[in-house]
């Protein structure tokens, strides 16, 4: 875990049965924080820092939002402190086609298209919020969960309360701040920290 200055943190590591991993995708869809070197392009962030293959970015991630605006050119849209970056596969419907990054109908939503912004003169480390949806979360979600994500304590608490029964059945092991914990214990924990660092490994990953 990398500690972010000024933010108290807790660390939760879960090892779960492989079939349980998809329930965590909801957290990835709501948005989670990751550490990053800022002041770079979306492409650089995703490919060079997050390890996403360039072909995957071109072919599978068809709809990209930066701060709620559609990104048409991943090389000229730049990521800064507190940016919110959302990644999706190609979407159905006329609206889906219009929102597609760099699509031929881009002109039909010009008001919500992301303008080019200049890269920051100096790179610095910080956090951005990432949202992963649909095919993208299915395909990239397990890797991000394995590496670890930062989420707000209250979101984690509400998530555990909603899913405690399946978590109880499918959680093989849990460690909170390095100490062994049970799902019941986690459910009754009040998460005081603003941000919690959550890592989820499946037993297949562990094996």
């Amino acid at each position: 875990m990398e500690k972010i200055d000024g933010i108290p943190t807790a660390q939760l590591s879960l090892t779960v049965k492989a079939e349980l991993v998809p329930i965590f995708f909801q957290l990835l869809g709501q948005g989670f924080k990751v550490n990053a070197q800022l002041g770079c392009s979306v492409k650089e962030l995703l490919c060079n820092q997050m390890g996403i293959h360039e072909n995957y970015l071109t072919e599978r991630i068809q709809t990209i939002f930066l701060n709620a605006k559609v990104v048409d050119d991943v090389k000229s849209a730049n990521v800064n402190e507190d940016s919110v970056l959302a990644l999706s596969g190609a979407m159905p419907g006329l609206a889906g086609a219009i929102l597609r990054s760099g699509g031929i109908y881009a002109g039909m939503r010009s008001q919500i298209s992301h303008d080019k912004n200049m890269p920051s003169s100096q790179s610095k480390s910080g956090q951005i919020t990432l949202k992963l949806w649909n095919l993208v979360v299915k395909e990239l979600g397990p890797t991000f969960l394995d590496r670890g994500i930062w989420i707000r304590g209250e979101e984690l608490q509400s998530f555990i309360k909603r899913h405690w029964q399946v978590l109880r059945a499918g959680c093989i092991g849990a460690a909170l701040d390095g100490k062994s914990a049970t799902v019941d214990h986690l459910q009754n924990t009040t998460w005081k920290s603003d941000l919690v660092f959550l890592q989820v490994n499946s037993n297949s990953t562990v094996a």
């Binding site: 998809p22 329930i23 995708f25 909801q26 869809g29 709501q30 599978r60 068809q62 709809t63 939002f65 709620a68 605006k69 559609v70 959302a86 999706s88 596969g89 190609a90 979407m91 159905p92 419907g93 006329l94 609206a95 889906g96 086609a97 219009i98 929102l99 031929i104 109908y105 881009a106 002109g107 039909m108 939503r109 010009s110 008001q111 919500i112 949202k131 949806w133 649909n134 095919l135 979360v137 299915k138 399946v166």
Partner: protein, 582 residues
Amino acid sequence: MDKILRINMGASGGPEVKTEPLGDYAGLGGRAMTSGIVAKEVPALCHPLGEDNKLVIAPGMLSGSAAAMSGRISVGCKSPLTGGIKEANSGGQAAQMLGRLGYAAIVLEGKPKEKTLYKVFINKDGVKIKEDNGLCMLGNYDLVDKMKAEYGEKVHCISIGPAGEMKMSAASIAFTDMEQRPTRHAGRGGVGAVMGSKGVKVIVIDDEGTAVRTPADPEKFKAANKEWVAGLRKHPVTGEGLPAYGTNVLTNVINEAGAYPTRNFSVGQFEGASKISGETQAELENARGGEGSATHGCHRGCVIRCSGTFYDKNGNFLTKQVEYETMWAHGGNCGIDDLDAIAQIDRLDDDFGVDTIEMGATIAVAMEGGVAKFGDAEAAIKLVKEVGKGTPLGRILGNGAAVTGQVFGVERVPVVKKQSMPAYDPRAVMGIGVTYATTPMGADHTAGYAVGANIMGVGGAVIDPLKPEGQMELARNLQIATAILTDSTGMCLFIAFAILDQPETFQALVDLINAFTGESFTGDDLMAQGKAILKCERDFNFRAGFTAKDDRLPEYFKKEPLAPHNVTFQVSDEDLDEVHNY
């Protein structure tokens, strides 16, 4: 499909059945057929619920054949909601069955003199019509159960619920799905009210003893169909995204874009969106299990299978997988983020026979008018039940958002030509606003669908979509192409993505049409047919009294900035008037 079935419900001595050759309507299917008949035979100034209006039900050009995805059916009439021409379409089994029985259209004409309900039975031996007032005010589910008990487990139904009988302007026509459930609806424009005005509660279809329609060139057809299916399966939208998450996969994306109309179009993002997203819905459906839970087709021959089945907490069937527009209309647009409550409302809508988009938009307008609080799911359920019962409040709501807004003094009423807008705010996605404003159907998200870039430039110079005139041209060509390529062939709208991205798949569709019909259509020919459909529809509307002023969005879209982007609809009236200038 070589004949048209006409049933004169107003004939002296009871309904009169006549079967005619296609005549002037030869070669038409789906919307081309419904709009062709309505524009030619219905007086544009007639009362939509009167004897001069006609209800036309037409399978697509390829319906009843082995062509994949060809099971859509169109319903046309003069709309009681908009006052203009209407085509609403649906999935379900009826298109394939009518195609195999040889009917290119069923036309309900005239009006019974007495208040009598009829059921129509169609099979290979002909048509039988019986009075059955015992069906009065039955919901679609009970009605279909009765028909199954009477006619057997293999029949399928086209029916109306209580809303259609009460001639409400939001009334839909239900089509049974593969499991004989009335979950598929021609929802828009009050087509159910017109069926109700004809006194027809249900049309029961039995295609036993019929065969799949034979193509003109079977070998070429088989090869084109193979290529067609392969193209649909390999595309990430039609082959992966839609089967896995259904149309509701759009919720997160539209919400992120700030284009998700929330609490009656007051803001563009809903804080509860992730709770009702396609991803969350699929996860819930998969966890609850059951047959066809998260991936299911709406008709035989569907290879995309974007639908599913929603089981309640106890594992009992509740409704089909709630689609994006329904999830939005009864969800974020009413401030509701409870999946089970929204699914329950969807079931009620289907049972009473009302358009889910119109009902959701109407309830949101009613909420703004103080009838209930935004976010109150129980209150929303009660309001829909008022519609089913036909209480005075229910009658108001059942006649749509425009009427409800007027009754409760609400200014923010999101309608065009009195039809409610679907789930995309036109201030954020202005191109969709252009379609809402200018389609002859009233606000409709399916009127200008995405079709191949390879045909977008047909007959004209290369389009620059970043210029206003390019936007108009795109909107125009989308409407033209949609009218012919999906609405008239019987093809599902969702084929659009595969033909948008894969030229070989677009070619496979053209080959499929040509191999089936024996014609040699080109892209230009198809676009010309699409233009002809739009022209005849617009001509009908002008004769019905519509002017350019009806091709406008409500004024508040130009004045009220939409959060989070604080944008307004900025397309000028002059530009809107150019859309159909061809």
